[in-house]
C-alpha cells in the first residue's frame, strides 16, 4: 500500500485538520472532528446535513458552505458516521427551520441517520439518494445505491435552502431531483482501504468492473477492458433506459472520476458520452467534470445524467461557495 500518510489510525483526523486549515474561510471543524460545518450558519434557513463514510472526498465535506451543505459528518473510511455525529452537527447548525438529512442509500448510512432522525429534537426530514442503476440490490443496500448523483441533489437543495425554501418543500424537491438522476460507474483498478492495507478486490490487467460501487463493491459483471466508446455506450445506455428520457430533453451531465483517473481521460469520456447522448437527441445543458465522488485512489469513472427542468437548472446555476464547488461568488 502506497499512500501519503503517517498512521492509518490518525489519517482521517490529520486530513480533516488539513482540510479545515485550507478552507478556514468557509468551514469550521466540530469538536473531535465529528462534523464539518459552514463557518457562519444562516439564521432561519433549513439546515442541510449530509455525511457518510470517508474516502469519497470531496464528498461530503467539500460541499459544505454557502449554497450547499450546512454540515457534513465524516465517518471512518467507507463506514457510515454514527448518530452522535449527526446529532452534534444538527445542534451546531440548526437555527429553527429544521434539519434536512441527505443520505446515500446504504444500509449503514440509512440505519445511522434513521437513529439520528429519531433522536434529534427539531423538525426534520430525510432525502435518500439512490441514483446507481448498476444493480437493483447490492450487498449493502436494500434497493439501489446512492453514488455521484448525491452531489447534484446536495447542490440543488443547497440553493433552494439558501433562498429560504421550507423543510417540506425541500424534501419534495430532493426526492424529485433524485428520481430524475441516474448514474453508473466502471472501475479499472481497485482501491485500498488504508487500515486493511491491501486492495479491496483483485482485478486482472485486462479486466474492468462494470457497474462498480463507490466502495469498490462488485457491480454488474467483470468484463474485458473495453474502449472508452464502448464503456460510454454501456454506462449511458443503462442510464437512459432507467430515466426513459424523451428526445429533446435537456440534462446535466456529470462525468465523475473515482480518484485515480486523470482529467485527460475524464474529458475523453465526456466526448464519448456526448456522442451517445446526441444519438438519443438528448441535449446536455450543463456539465460538471472532475473527481467529486471518489473511492480513494480507484481508477475509473461514473456517468451521471440528471434530467432537470428549468427551475432546477436555475438552482444548479445559483451561486455556491464550498471547498470543491464554487461559482457565482
Amino acid at each position: 500500500m502506497k499512500k501519503l500518510i503517517n498512521d492509518v489510525e490518525t489519517m482521517l483526523s490529520e486530513s480533516l485538520d488539513g482540510f479545515a486549515a485550507a478552507h478556514a474561510d468557509i468551514v469550521a471543524l466540530g469538536e473531535a472532528g465529528q462534523f464539518v460545518r459552514r463557518r457562519t450558519p444562516k439564521p432561519g434557513k433549513v439546515a442541510l446535513i449530509s455525511g457518510g463514510g470517508s474516502g469519497h472526498e470531496p464528498l461530503h465535506t467539500g460541499f459544505v458552505g454557502h449554497g450547499m451543505l450546512d454540515a457534513a459528518c465524516p465517518g471512518q473510511i467507507f463506514t457510515s458516521p454514527t448518530p452522535d455525529q449527526m446529532l452534534a452537527a444538527a445542534q451546531s447548525v440548526e437555527t429553527g427551520a429544521g434539519v434536512l438529512f441527505i443520505v446515500k442509500n446504504y444500509s449503514g448510512d440509512m440505519m445511522n441517520f434513521q437513529m439520528a432522525a429519531e433522536m434529534v429534537d427539531c423538525d426534520n426530514e430525510t432525502v435518500v439518494v439512490n441514483d446507481d442503476v448498476a444493480v437493483e440490490n447490492s450487498t449493502y443496500t436494500t434497493g439501489r445505491r446512492g453514488v455521484a448523483g448525491t452531489l447534484i441533489v446536495e447542490k440543488i437543495l443547497g440553493a433552494a435552502a439558501e433562498r429560504g425554501d421550507p423543510l417540506r418543500k425541500l424534501k419534495q424537491l430532493g426526492d424529485a431531483v433524485n428520481k430524475a438522476t441516474a448514474s453508473m460507474g466502471v472501475a479499472l483498478t481497485s482501491c485500498t482501504v488504508p487500515a486493511a492495507g491491501k486492495p479491496t478486490f483483485q482485478i486482472g490487467g485486462d479486466e474492468m468492473e462494470m457497474g462498480v460501487g463507490i466502495h469498490g463493491e462488485p457491480g454488474r459483471r467483470r468484463i474485458k477492458l473495453a474502449g472508452a466508446d464502448d464503456i460510454a455506450h454501456e454506462l449511458t445506455g443503462a442510464i437512459l433506459k432507467d430515466l426513459s428520457l424523451k428526445a429533446g430533453q435537456q440534462v446535466l451531465l456529470l462525468v465523475n472520476g473515482f480518484g485515480g483517473t486523470p482529467m485527460l481521460e475524464l474529458y475523453l469520456m465526456v466526448n464519448a458520452v456526448h456522442k451517445v447522448l446526441a444519438g438519443h437527441q438528448v441535449k446536455v445543458a450543463r456539465h460538471l467534470t472532475g473527481s467529486y465522488v471518489t473511492s480513494l485512489e480507484m481508477a475509473g469513472c461514473s456517468v451521471t445524467v440528471s434530467a432537470l427542468d428549468d427551475a432546477q437548472l436555475a438552482l444548479w446555476d445559483a451561486p455556491v461557495h464550498t471547498a470543491a464547488l464554487r461559482w457565482g461568488m
Binding site: 463514510g53 448518530p83 482501504v193 486493511a196 462488485p218
Partner: protein, 210 residues
C-alpha cells in the same frame, strides 16, 4: 457485574480484535472491506469502558455496551450490534437463563428487522441469531455446546445464501462461497461467550481482567 461476566466481555471483544484480518477479508470479498476494523473499533471502545461496566448490573452493562457500539462503530455494524445489545439489556432477566435469553433474543431479532429491513435468509447476522434463538427456546442437554456449534455452522451456511434470493442475489455465482462478515462476527462473539461459560469457574478473577 460479576467477575465472570467481566471475563466474558473481555473474551468476546478480544476474539473480534484477534480476527480483524479475517473479517476484513470477508468484507472485501462481497462488501467494502471495513467490517474487521469496525468490529475492532467497537471492541476496543468497550474494553476501554471496563471500569464503568464493572459497577453496572448485567442489564445496565448491555445497554452501555450497545450505546458504545452505536456511538463508536458506525457503518451497519454500529446500529446493528448496538440495537442487539441494547435490546438484550432491556429484556434479559437477571440472573439470565436460557428461556429468558431466548425471549430477549427474539425481541432483538424483531428490533433488528424493524431497523434494517432485512429478513432471515438475506445473508446478514440474522441468519445466525435466528437459529441460535430457536435452539435456546427449545432448551435441553449441553445447550452451551450446541449453541456454539450452531452459531459457527449458521455463519458458515451464509456462504450458500448468495446463490439464492436475498439482498446479495445480484452477485450470483461471484459471491457463492463467501461467508457474510457480520454473521461471522456474531458467531465469534457467541463462540467466545459459550467457551467462557463452559470454562472452569475456578479461574482467578485477577487473571481474567488482563
Amino acid at each position: 457485574m460479576k467477575p465472570d461476566t467481566h471475563n466474558l466481555i473481555r473474551c468476546a471483544t478480544q476474539t473480534l480484535i484477534d480476527h480483524v484480518d479475517e473479517l476484513t477479508a470477508l468484507d472485501q470479498a462481497i462488501g467494502d472491506g471495513d467490517h474487521g476494523l469496525n468490529m475492532r473499533r467497537g471492541a476496543l471502545a468497550i474494553q476501554g469502558k471496563q471500569g464503568e461496566l464493572a459497577g453496572q448490573s448485567l442489564n445496565e452493562a448491555l445497554r452501555t455496551m450497545g450505546m458504545t457500539c452505536m456511538s463508536t462503530i458506525g457503518g451497519s455494524s454500529g446500529p446493528v450490534f448496538g440495537t442487539l445489545l441494547v435490546t438484550l439489556g432491556k429484556h434479559l432477566p437477571d440472573p439470565p437463563n436460557a428461556a429468558g435469553l431466548a425471549q430477549a433474543l427474539d425481541a432483538a431479532i424483531q428490533a433488528l428487522t424493524r431497523l434494517g429491513k432485512a429478513q432471515v435468509g438475506q445473508k446478514t447476522l440474522l441468519d445466525v441469531l435466528d437459529p441460535v434463538q430457536k435452539l435456546l427456546a427449545k432448551g435441553g442437554e449441553e445447550l452451551v455446546k450446541r449453541v456454539r456449534t450452531c452459531a459457527f455452522d449458521a455463519a458458515e451456511a451464509t456462504a450458500a445464501l448468495d446463490a439464492a434470493r436475498g439482498r446479495a442475489s445480484f452477485l450470483g455465482d461471484r459471491a457463492l462461497g463467501h461467508v457474510d462478515p457480520g454473521s461471522r462476527s456474531t458467531a465469534l462473539i457467541i463462540g467466545a461467550i459459550c467457551e467462557s461459560l463452559d470454562a472452569p469457574a475456578t479461574a482467578q478473577p485477577s487473571s481474567l481482567s488482563a
